[in-house]
Symmetry: C2
Subunit: 403 residues, 2 copies
């Protein structure tokens, strides 16, 4: 790293109003630049304490009484909190539970049932594998056709492309708000409105936007959304996902996994399943209470920092990373326009896989995404500009030796 790069990074860190939040995270040992917060966010110190309190008190002392006292409502209460701080969702529309994949399955099935006679699903070929796979499974099961949209590798789905495949047969559009490779930020309100003009429902995958890109799901008229909580929400490996279902759709949608915790009166042990009213009907099994504890800390932290400030730092971080990539002669495969870019960038190089492996050995941790992407995920509350400078410099050096 040149002195100029070092001092510029130091200037940016000194001017960063969110810099103090970095101390809230557990130290990361031998890692000198963590550039994969969009795959797995770092743990908060507060989560260590919360987990201990949880084991000692909530679980260890209240025992089964915990379900009556707080846990029955915790998936909804945490969902409401997430909705307020990160989704732009009024209470009663967000719930925590299951994995993104299972929630995708439930909501896609529910949406298709709510559009009887319509035989087409819309998705893009660069959507995250689990979205495409779950959709393919349902299409195979129900005899539906998927209309696939092709995207540029450094871009993403546009309203024009969606308009081109929408029609009176479209039951559901399934897209990611931020593309997992390019970080393309889709024009969510426009695409949602387009789908509605054709009577279709839209399901947004928010995995790569929740906690880093402000959302206004209610204002934008979104029907359905899912997302994970282990990226920018720092919930830990395999933390439960969330589902958003707009309030007026609850009574019109029925999901296919009729577990007891989605029933109206689970402890009545009744003869037949009657779905709960409201968002609870999208639950199935016993909710992962222990597994959602760290998420609660990050919801608090996002509340404290404020999502607009987080987004501002996020855009600055990704711009800075792109400027460094340009300076080092590494190809950027993400949108240049900050308004069309999520919280990460991808750099393209034929030796991306080997370079990532080499970087991991020296404590610089980006992610590899096939075929040729080094993905740089920048979690605003835990990432410094110095880390970005250090990591990108190391990447440039490794690539310069990759021939």
């Amino acid at each position: 790293m040149t002195g100029a790069v070092v001092s510029r990074a130091a200037e940016l860190d000194a001017a960063d109003p969110l810099a103090g939040f970095r101390e809230r995270f557990v130290p990361c040992g031998d890692v000198r630049a963590y550039l994969d917060g969009n795959s797995l966010g770092r743990p908060l110190r507060a989560s260590r304490e919360r987990l201990l309190r949880f084991v000692d008190q909530a679980w260890g002392e209240r025992l089964i009484r915990g379900w009556d006292e707080q846990w029955m409502d915790e998936p909804l209460r945490a969902g409401d909190a997430l909705g307020r701080v990160a989704l732009g969702a009024a209470n009663g529309q967000t719930v925590i539970g299951d994995s993104t994949s299972v929630l995708l399955y439930k909501l896609i099935r529910a949406a298709v049932d709510a559009r009887p006679g319509r035989t087409e699903l819309v998705c893009d070929r660069d959507n995250f594998p689990t979205d495409r796979f779950v959709l393919q499974g349902i299409a195979a099961e129900l005899g539906l056709r998927v209309r696939w949209i092709d995207c540029a590798p450094d871009g993403g789905v546009t309203p024009d492309q969606v308009a081109h495949v929408l029609g009176e047969n479209t039951a559901l559009v399934l897209l990611s708000h931020v593309a997992y490779r390019s970080a393309w930020l889709a024009e969510l309100p426009e695409i949602t409105a387009l789908a509605h003009q054709h009577g279709a429902l839209v399901l947004w995958d928010l995995c790569h936007s929740v906690g880093v890109v402000p959302l206004e799901l209610d204002d934008w008229g979104v029907d359905l959304a899912v997302g994970c909580t282990y990226k920018y929400l720092n919930g830990g490996p395999g933390a439960p996902a969330f589902a958003y279902v707009r309030a007026d759709l609850h009574e019109r949608l029925q999901q296919p996994i009729w577990g007891w915790m989605g029933a109206g009166a689970p402890f009545a042990m009744g003869e037949t399943y009657q779905p709960a009213s409201g968002i609870r009907r999208f639950l199935s099994g016993t909710p992962p209470i222990l597994g959602m504890q760290p998420l609660l800390d990050m919801i608090d932290l996002v509340t404290e920092a404020g999502l607009p400030a987080i987004r501002e730092k996020s855009v600055t971080l990704t711009e800075y990373a792109m400027a460094l990539a340009d300076q080092f002669g590494v190809t950027v495969a993400s949108p240049r326009d900050g308004a069309r870019r999520g919280g990460h960038i991808t750099l393209a190089h034929p030796a991306a896989r080997e370079a990532t492996a080499r970087l991991w050995e020296i404590g610089v941790i980006p992610d590899f995404r096939p075929p040729d992407g080094v993905r740089i995920g920048l979690s605003p509350l835990s990432t410094s500009f110095a880390e970005v400078a250090d990591g990108l410099s190391a990447l440039a050096t490794v690539l310069s030796h990759a021939g």
Copy 2:
């Protein structure tokens, strides 16, 4: 409590070879008798330490590298360990993930697909609600008929009853090994063999037997099984469930939720879903790694204590509880024969609901199960005979005032 009751309980505790294991659990505060370990097992002290280590090191320092280094295989490795110590299952047939309800959905759907043309499902009316509800949902979805078996309130399903409804149209039999109310222990090997004679598959719900009743799934020729890990396996509220699928069925079964973590090469980000070989294909989303940590401690503890010794204490505990109930004039609604009884007993009384609420106020914690059951769950590694004596005496006193 009379002096005779107190001294008899003390004798039994003094003679209990597993008594020392009680110290391994987190203290339970104001609870003087925890009689609901079969709804939510108590946390282990070791789990406090494991969770801290997990946050500080596995998650906090290894970060995303944890997936490569250990987490990708953890659901299978933990499944294998559980299979060895508690299920009688050879490696490669058990996996941890999702909830019991979601796993029931996946395996019922897979089983029905594997028996094309067969239109009937068998279940009992006293099976746990989530089993019945999930089955009802699938029956409604696929136009199948459920053949319901009626059981005595203090008993459970018999091979004769199953034989009566089995036929060439039976696709799947779904039963619980131990009934959640009566604790009836079904004749699992006999019923499995009967179903196989008719070409049907059997799915056993092991929620109330795993960790307390020794199982030999491989030897018994079981096809499919699921169970939760928050009861006798002390995994914590909403801990992930497990699925067992016999090895020779893997390639013949496909589950409907085609999430990326059930695909053969999830990080290839390929175009189409190809199920993984082996038990991994029954996964869907990112597995709940944080949520399965406490379970790992209990697997260790069960290994150390040995399931035969656990079962022996379990039978002694339930016998002792029944003897006290008889002495106090409370009606037992569970099998008298230890060989037909799981790890809990249910006591029947018209004032069961109010009595349970009153007992909770004084730190005696059984569970209420409608319509009239006070359920006494006795977790062998954490429950003393003195607790049983104290709890049952308190119950008798409360009931004597209930009029």
